[in-house]
Amino acid sequence: MSKGKEILQALERKQLEQVEVNTRRGWRKEVDIKNSEIHSYKEEEFNYHIIRAFKDKKKGLFNFETWRNDLAAYIRETTLNAEPDPDFHSLPLPRKISPVEGLYSPCLEKIKGENLLKIARGIIKKAKGIVPSVVLSGSLEASCQEWEVVNSLGVEVSLPVTFLEISLEAIIWQKDGAGSFYDFEKSHQWEESFAEELPERVVRRAEGYLNKKAVKTGFYPLILSPLSTYILLQTFARSLNAEDIQKKRSFMGSKIGQKIAQDLFTLKDDGGIPGGLASSPCDGEGVPHRKITVVEKGILQTYFHNSYTAHKDGVENTAHASTGGGISPTNLVLSRGKRKFREIASDLEEGIFADIISFSPHPVSGEFSVPLDLAYKIEKGEFAYPIKGAMAGGNFQEIIRQIKEISSDFRPFPANPAPYILIDRVNILGG
């Protein structure tokens, strides 16, 4: 019997009405790079049990790493201390789940520490081969886990998942300052190219951020890099969390059916794409993933729901439950335009290119004010110089509304292809 079912049975004997058990058991191996040297190698075994228990519409949420049978009584007692939630209806019933390919790699499961150390040495060598004085830091991580979700209504899903992730930061110091850049790659599969391309990219980009200059305050067209687009889409999707909408904690409330962006903006969410970073056959409650249209030609179609929020709103569950009852989007796929980034940029007499910008809007008002630490001034269609000490300000809803063009070329984050985006007019405060 699986660990999840064993825990489920122990809890059902305590006469709890409904129980859901999520377990993640596995290992993580990580090489840590600091100051362009291998600093440490780490092996971690993890064994997370996340349990939701319900009785008389009262809910308890529990996290354990070591399961002991005496915890069942503790869970019952703590759950009974909660207050009934009249909006709680039921955990989901079991549904047919179709497998999703590409989430597990036997090669990654078998990877040894020695291999990771060898790859990390190669990454450092590559970076120092480009700029010998580069200060490289970051990590190379492989993980393998068995994820299981079971509930007392018969949901039973389990699957193995592997991940490879490399994140690097390069800093190049000069007398009067530093140029730095950060980037990452992540996949369910073993990707030989990561160790080749990523160190070169971060070092070259860090070089490009030496000798920054101030930019004048004003309104500029802003082009987002694919990494910035990826971050923007995640931020946008978070603002569509149905729980936050229901609790009036999001600036995107009451917008279904409304025009929130121009016609060129169509956004789909699909948790079933093979090999996708956020793919799995089902959500954290065991409800099968499906492709949904979030925004169609600029009109908002839906919020992201789990079983609780969907029931409360009387709409179909979009299957976006995260483990433990929260809500999170899956793979976000944005419509693409007809022109490449270079053509879009070449039209700009003056503009800003943001390599990394995270808008971080106020959750309630949508206002934001963020630094532009990794950005370039564009003049006459060309990259002119990296900019220093500037900030971008405005309202996030305006940013979405002002997306004027989306490029045809994109960065292939697995199942989350991220194009360049041109935002018509953004308030930039010069340094």
């Binding site: 100051n35 291998i38 190698y41 529990f62 790493e65 070591t66 207050e83 300052g177 609790k247 106020h362």
Partner: protein, 459 residues
């Protein structure tokens, strides 16, 4: 099991070995709009082991394991250590063998749930007494950590740290405009921390502020004279300056202060301390995660860098003394150099004198959510919920949604005076670094800064 740990770390095949055992009980309650929204509880225990053999660290963590499994894992660590040449070393500190348990007046584990929830609901409900409040959310968290560290230097320390944090967020709305405000109280201690919270000093001021912000003006944009409150001084102390004084950032070339020992990095008004012994503060402890006793350290004195924060490793590499700042989030992580309670020291002015110095400018009061700091460039940005436009040294109009930004060193040179009045924020928070979060706090005096870049929407 402790005898086994002592046996393992005394292996002659390694330069240094350490075993850390931890057990944590946590409980959190979320109360929204008068109803207990969720009850979350976690019990976690596990073992962290690390070995230094040839100059690189090998580390393992596990949650379950008998003696044989632990021995097997330790043996693996020793063999992996062979593959890790490097420059890491350890400061050979005299052994510490001590046990400390933080004394509490009321053990929160013994307070029954009904009493806890009623007390917290009363606090949360008080915020809704104010007209215009449309949403209230209180998050209560308690944790009780037991930690034992044993190492090959002969250390055997044990500590128990109970911590509490109460966070209240309110949203006010008028004519479609929404504004929010928050406050938190965090400390090392027992249930007495919650019992001492009063309506008039905790929920009501938060609610009043959110309602007032509905009629506040959007801020102007540009460079202004600014007075920052102790709360904002604290975030500057921690984020903009403190991270740059962490020994590992210095060694690894990630700090803008890497070549600044003994140099002037700010005006004479700038003195910065990190104090892990601050009584009952959220970021305080008795020993760090390497077993080194907690200390109070002066890092910047009268504008000059006079010290850095250290772990056993960075102290050895920088030929300094360990400061007890090697902290790990939990047994799944290696210790990193981390701050505890970081504060700017007070000056000699009254707040009124600072206001007179400003004349026309902005008094920045309450922090909002979100912010950003680039350690190597020193660029920072903080969101501020509420501020005042100041004219002729007096508060003139309330401003909302201000952002402050600047470069750390430029800003520190522009600090012209500090107030005698100074406080620890007592808000507590979790500081993130390399994927690890640890409890911290910060604070300082009111500080007059001659020019800071203020972001806003008013042209």
């Amino acid at each position: 099991m402790l005898d086994l740990f002592e046996e393992l770390v005394s292996s002659s095949r390694i330069k240094f070995g350490e075993v850390r055992w931890e057990e944590t009980h946590t409980l959190s309650l979320v109360i929204e709009d008068g109803r207990i929204e969720s009850v979350n509880s976690a019990i976690r225990s596990g073992i962290a082991m690390r070995v230094l053999k040839k100059g690189g660290w090998s580390f393992a963590s596990l949650t379950n394991g008998g003696r044989e499994q632990i021995k097997r894992l330790w043996k693996n660590l020793e063999s992996t250590g062979e593959l890790l040449p490097g420059n890491s070393r350890i400061f050979s500190l005299s052994p510490v063998r001590e046990t400390k348990r933080h004394a509490v007046k009321e053990d929160f584990r013994r307070i029954n749930f009904k009493e806890k929830s009623e007390t917290l609901k009363n606090l949360e409900g008080a915020a809704r007494k104010r007209k215009g409040i449309v949403h209230t959310r209180l998050v209560y968290g308690e944790s009780w950590l037991k930690e034992t560290v044993i190492n090959s230097l002969g250390f055997r320390v044990e500590q128990e740290l109970p911590r509490i944090r109460v966070f209240l967020n309110v949203v006010a709305e008028k004519d479609g405009l929404k504004q929010s405000s928050y406050k938190s109280r965090a400390a090392l201690g027992g249930w007495e921390i919650v019992r001492e919270l009063r309506e008039e000093s905790f929920p009501l001021p938060v609610a009043d502020r959110a309602v007032e912000l509905l009629d506040a003006s959007p801020p102007p944009s540009g460079m202004f004279k600014v007075i920052i409150s102790p709360q904002v001084a604290g975030i500057l102390a921690h984020e903009a300056l403190g991270h740059n004084l962490e020994g590992d950032h210095i060694i690894h070339g990630q700090s803008l202060l890497k070549d600044k020992t003994g140099e002037r990095i700010g005006s004479e008004c700038i003195t910065l301390v990190d104090d892990a012994t601050y009584p009952a503060a959220y970021g305080s402890y008795y020993f760090d995660s390497e077993g080194v006793p907690a200390q109070k350290k002066t890092l910047v004195e009268s504008g000059k860098v006079c010290g850095f924060l250290h772990s056993l490793e960075t102290a050895a590499l920088m030929e300094a003394y360990p400061t007890g700042n090697g902290r790990a989030q939990d047994y799944h992580h290696l210790p990193l150099v981390r701050m505890s309670n970081t504060l700017f020291s007070p000056g000699e002015c009254s707040v009124e004198e600072l206001m007179d110095m400003v004349g026309e400018g902005i008094l920045v009061e309450e922090l909002g959510s979100g912010g950003y700091v680039s350690p190597e460039s020193g660029q920072f940005m903080f969101n501020i919920d509420s501020s005042w436009w100041v004219e002729k040294g007096k508060k003139k109009k309330l401003l909302r949604n201000v952002s402050l930004s600047g470069f750390t060193l430029e800003t520190l040179f522009k600090v012209k005076a500090c107030s005698r009045a100074h406080t620890l924020s007592e808000s507590g928070g979790t500081c993130g670094k390399e994927g690890q979060g640890v409890p911290v706090d910060d604070g300082g005096p009111f500080m007059f800064v001659e020019g800071m870049l203020v972001g806003g929407r008013e042209k």
